[in-house]
């Protein structure tokens, strides 16, 4: 049997078995999910690369699945993160109800994602896309909380995206009568596709929904927040990247092969790219601004995911080798650090009961490992050297600067500086500050939850010095997209102007200086050291009362909010609310026309006849 089909079969059948096994034991679904993902992973990594090829003809349609080098990058992400998340889920989902449904949908969506990246024809692409969408939708509404705001937004936007995609697929099919992507690309190169621009825009619209790009992002924050943390890691980490995958497919594979002689198409290609890039930049800025006023850690991370997806979109949309590389690097990194962060927040939620940063504080001594992984991933997220986030940020900036998108650099820089604000917010809100008695019972999460997070954190640290580990598969993948001979080095970054940054030197310097300072400060005067708790602080000599709160938690960045108040005035959700209210009113009006009264209808008929008469007379 075909390996690729076998992997998909394992996942889908595992889903069904997990769903059924809940009746046997509550513990079983999580285990089955873990086992089936492990099996799929083992199968994937033990097989030679050329076996992932699968063709099936059915009902006159040719389904083609193939994992090329570019897809392989995403498969690494999907399998890796899903495996770690499912390991985590074993501990995380303990004692929760309706686990069968959860794991059923989780495995289904993982299978769907694998299908998407492997699909080489638009029909199977669309089918797997819908499997992924619906299974993720069912997980988003799994907790049942706040369905109206979360579920409906997600469903409506996904449906919009799906219709747009469907329309584009039909358009292409009506032009060249094939669904096969390779054939479509060939057709584009031969200029046999008159509706190329329209179809591309519609496809990009559909992918933008998943990638949570600016005007279509409103579903994302709530959906990410509502899904259980074990799934949110996958959701934000890889599922949203399917949008990026699609965009790369359209922008870099399809539009790029437009004939260079066709000036207008090339121009439109650049134009679409610029628009997308600017949308990405604005998404990054606005989402960052909203992230830093959140009080719920998961929601903060959700907004931050939207912002990060904005960066990734920019890279893809700009389309230079360095920017695409930066974008794909950031995509993998985002899966790593945002996955870690969501998992860490899940651990906090499980252990402390909430992720509301106004309710908990000072967990650093209670959950040191969780703090460590959060710290590492936050530093990565903020892009501070020597961790991996810096590499991605650097490449993105250099790509933009050398490409001449200077104002976009400033916007991106603004959002990534503002990202420090929410980075600190999340670290402080949960782990630092006063250690209160009401969190005294909190303990560190079990090993099965810590282990995946630590693995990812260590990867982030390693990639900070040796990004080449990741450049290798990215460069190979980019070959598929048409970027020949992408150069990369293990520890040196370089841009087209020939400027370099040597990461090895950076890490060594930081390491040496830090160790020296550590030794100096730790050894010196350690005899007179007094360990104090967080209650022994300078409160102007006063002794705080029991019920008084000494942690700064509410409206954390109020001054900033006030300074940036014009940017906060308009909310996208409100615009959509207004739109839907307007539609409501329109439908109301329409209903008024159809009053149900026979006499009115008679009147309409008369009016219509008169109008027809006049029209006919005029034309004759």
């Amino acid at each position: 049997m075909n390996t690729l089909a076998l992997i998909l079969l394992i996942l889908f059948s595992g889903a069904i078995v997990a769903f059924l096994s809940e009746k046997v034991s509550k513990f079983l679904p999580s285990l089955i999910a873990f086992i089936s993902i492990t099996a799929a992973g083992i199968l994937f990594y033990t097989s030679p690369a050329d076996v992932f090829n699968f063709k099936l003809s059915m009902a006159g349609l040719n389904f083609t699945l193939k994992i090329d080098e570019f897809s392989r990058l995403f498969v690494h992400m999907i399998i890796g993160l899903s495996w770690l998340a499912s390991m985590y889920a074993v501990g995380y989902m303990q004692n929760k109800e309706r686990q069968g449904t959860f794991f059923f949908n989780m495995l289904l969506s993982i299978g769907g994602m694998l299908g998407i990246v492997a699909a080489r024809d638009l029909v199977s692409f669309f089918v797997f896309w819908e499997i992924m969408t619906w299974s993720s939708f069912l997980i988003v509404v799994w907790t049942g909380a706040d369905f109206r705001r979360t579920g409906i937004w997600y469903m409506v936007f996904s449906a919009m995206g799906a219709y747009a995609m469907l329309m584009a697929i039909m358009m292409i099919y009506s032009d060249i009568h094939t669904f096969n992507i390779d054939e479509i690309i060939a057709a584009i190169a031969e200029q046999r596709l008159p509706h190329l621009v329209e179809a591309s825009v519609l496809l990009l619209f559909g992918f933008s929904v998943k990638a949570a790009l600016m005007p279509l992002h409103v579903w994302a924050p709530n959906a990410y927040t509502q899904a259980p943390a074990a799934y949110t890691a996958i959701f934000s980490g890889v599922l949203s990247k399917m949008g990026i995958f699609g965009m790369a497919l359209v922008l870099l594979s399809m539009l790029k092969f437009a004939n260079p002689a066709d000036f207008s198409l090339v121009y439109i290609n650049g134009f679409i790219g610029q628009i997308l890039a600017w949308l990405g930049a604005i998404t990054a800025a606005i989402a960052t601004l909203y992230a830093l006023i959140q009080t719920d850690a998961k929601k903060l991370l959700a907004y931050s995911s939207v912002a990060q997806l904005g960066y990734i979109t920019i890279g893809i949309a700009i389309g230079t080798p360095l920017s695409v590389m930066a974008s794909l690097f950031l995509a993998v990194l985002h899966a790593l650090f945002k996955g870690t962060l969501f998992l860490a927040m899940g651990a906090v939620e499980r252990q402390a009961g909430t992720t509301d940063m106004t309710k908990i504080s000072g967990l650093i001594r209670r959950m040191p490992w969780t703090f460590f992984v959060t710290l590492v991933s936050i530093i990565s997220l903020a892009g501070v050297p020597p961790l991996a986030g810096f590499v991605g940020k650097w490449m993105l900036y250099e790509a933009l600067i050398t490409n001449g998108n200077v104002f976009m650099v400033v916007v991106v820089f603004f959002s990534s500086t503002a990202a420090f604000l929410y980075s600190y917010r999340i670290l402080f809100g949960i782990f630092l500050g006063q250690e209160e008695d009401d969190t005294a019972h909190v303990k560190e999460a079990p090993l099965s939850m810590i282990l995946p997070m630590v693995v990812m954190a260590l990867l982030l640290i390693a990639l900070g010095t040796y990004p080449g580990l990741l450049f290798d598969p990215i460069a190979q993948g980019m070959t598929v997209l048409g970027f020949e001979n992408v150069t990369w080095q293990m520890t040196v970054l370089s841009n087209v102007w020939g400027n370099t940054v040597n990461l090895m030197y950076i890490s060594t310097t930081i390491g040496v200086a830090f160790v020296a300072a550590l030794l100096f400060l730790t050894l010196k005067g350690r005899k007179g050291s007094r360990n104090v708790g967080t209650k022994d602080i300078s409160t102007s000599g006063e002794i705080p009362l029991e019920h008084e709160n000494l942690t700064y938690q509410l409206d954390f960045f109020k001054p900033f909010e006030r300074a940036a108040s014009p940017l906060y005035r308009r909310k996208m959700t409100k615009i959509y609310d207004d739109l839907s209210n307007g539609l409501d009113a329109l439908f109301d009006f329409t209903r008024k026309i159809y009053t149900g009264n026979g006499q009115t209808y008679a009147l309409y008929v008369v009016i219509f006849l008169v109008a027809l008469l006049i029209y006919v007379q005029n034309t004759l």
Partner: protein, 368 residues
């Protein structure tokens, strides 16, 4: 008890931004104050109790310590209350000297205010200048009374001793110097755009509530209400002197600063007038042996204007050598406690100290 959501900040007692030894406990949401409580009592020395154990003249050692930055109005008010009880006349020259001392005390207190107001906003240069220049005024006090801060100079029946030789010239020279310096302070503080931005619209005392809230002194005049004990109930020789009582509108820190800025100049003008108009003659209508001095029974209420507002003494005598009861109502008692608690709500953390300084909160006067 359920833990609060708002963060509690203790501004004081040990805090660089507090005016003296008191505490403002604020609950903040973001950087906005949602609730402010003024806690006092850190300086309570039981003065009103101790005065009951001192005789009429010994009380003066305690009186001047009621308010440290500006002790002289306390002495004068008490002396006037005792004079009212006893019916003791004060020589003309002593009245002029008293007015001069009062205005000197006001002036040195304004210098301290300049330091506090600018220092709480982060402009340390002005604070250094004005506190440094204040030493020249304290030198005058030292020449006159022998003490820099506490003088015990005004006694019932006049003042303790006449002006030293050459005092008038020195005082006039000092006034010239201070006036010159005040112009420089204005350039540094009032012409500064940042100070204007900081001060305007902050810490507003509403004009329609001000009287009812018991606001006195510069904060009241900053609301556009012309109220000053020196013109409401002229004491000593204030009715013979030409001076303005400045007012400003808005009731914010800026308005209060404007009022004080002009008052400092008025004080200089009054000191000059007093020095010019001062008649010759006795300065002290001598009281009998202080250890045996009895003041007739009765109750008297005397008030004077200090920098912070009116200072009132309610003195009760039962005809013995010891005062029966001396109650002090300092300006800060209302300005610094209830009014401050009200106007701090809704303000920024950055402005707490700024507002406290502009309200002229003086904790020793509150808790005595």
């Amino acid at each position: 008890m359920v833990r609060e959501k708002e963060t509690t900040l203790y501004i004081g007692p040990q805090h660089p931004g507090i005016t003296g030894n008191m505490m403002v406990k604020v609950k903040v949401q973001g950087d906005t104050v949602t609730k402010a409580e003024v806690h006092v009592g850190y300086l309570h020395r039981a003065f009103e109790k101790l005065i009951e154990r001192r005789n009429w003249l010994q009380s003066f050692t305690i009186l001047c310590r009621f308010c440290v930055p500006e002790p002289d109005p306390m002495e004068l008010t008490y002396a006037r209350a005792v004079e009212e009880l006893e019916g003791r006349e004060v020589p003309e020259r002593a009245k002029y000297i008293r007015v001069m001392v009062m205005e000197l005390a006001r002036l040195q207190s304004f210098m301290l205010w300049y330091a506090g107001q600018s220092g709480s906003a982060g402009l340390y240069t002005l604070g250094q200048w004005s506190v440094g220049d204040r030493n020249y005024l304290l030198d005058l006090f030292e020449d006159l009374t022998g003490g820099r801060i506490y003088h015990m100079y005004i006694w019932p029946g006049g003042v303790r001793r006449d002006l030293p030789v050459g005092f008038k010239d020195k005082a006039l020279r000092t006034m010239d110097y201070i006036e010159k310096r005040l112009d420089e302070y204005d350039k540094l503080l009032f012409d500064n755009v940042i100070f204007q931005k900081r001060a305007q619209g902050v810490g507003i005392v509403p004009a329609d509530k001000a009287i009812e809230w018991g606001v006195v002194g510069a904060p009241l005049r900053g609301c556009g209400i012309k109220a000053d004990v020196r013109i409401d109930e002229p004491y000593e020789v204030y009715d013979r002197l030409k001076f303005e009582v400045p007012t400003a509108f808005g009731g914010d820190v800026w308005a209060r600063a404007q009022v004080r800025r002009q008052e400092a100049r008025q004080s200089i003008s009054i000191i000059r007038q007093v020095l010019e108009q001062m008649p010759e003659g006795e300065v002290y209508n001598k009281i009998p042996n202080p250890m045996k001095w009895k003041v007739p029974a009765g109750e008297a209420w005397a008030k004077t204007e200090s920098v912070r507002g009116e200072v009132g003494f309610y003195v009760v005598s039962d005809g013995s050598e010891f005062p029966r009861r001396v109650h002090v109502k300092g300006a800060a008692f209302t300005n610094g406690v209830t009014v401050t608690e009200k106007i701090l709500v809704g303000q920024n953390i950055a402005d707490i100290s700024f507002i406290l300084n502009s309200m002229g909160v003086c904790p020793p006067e509150i808790e005595r």
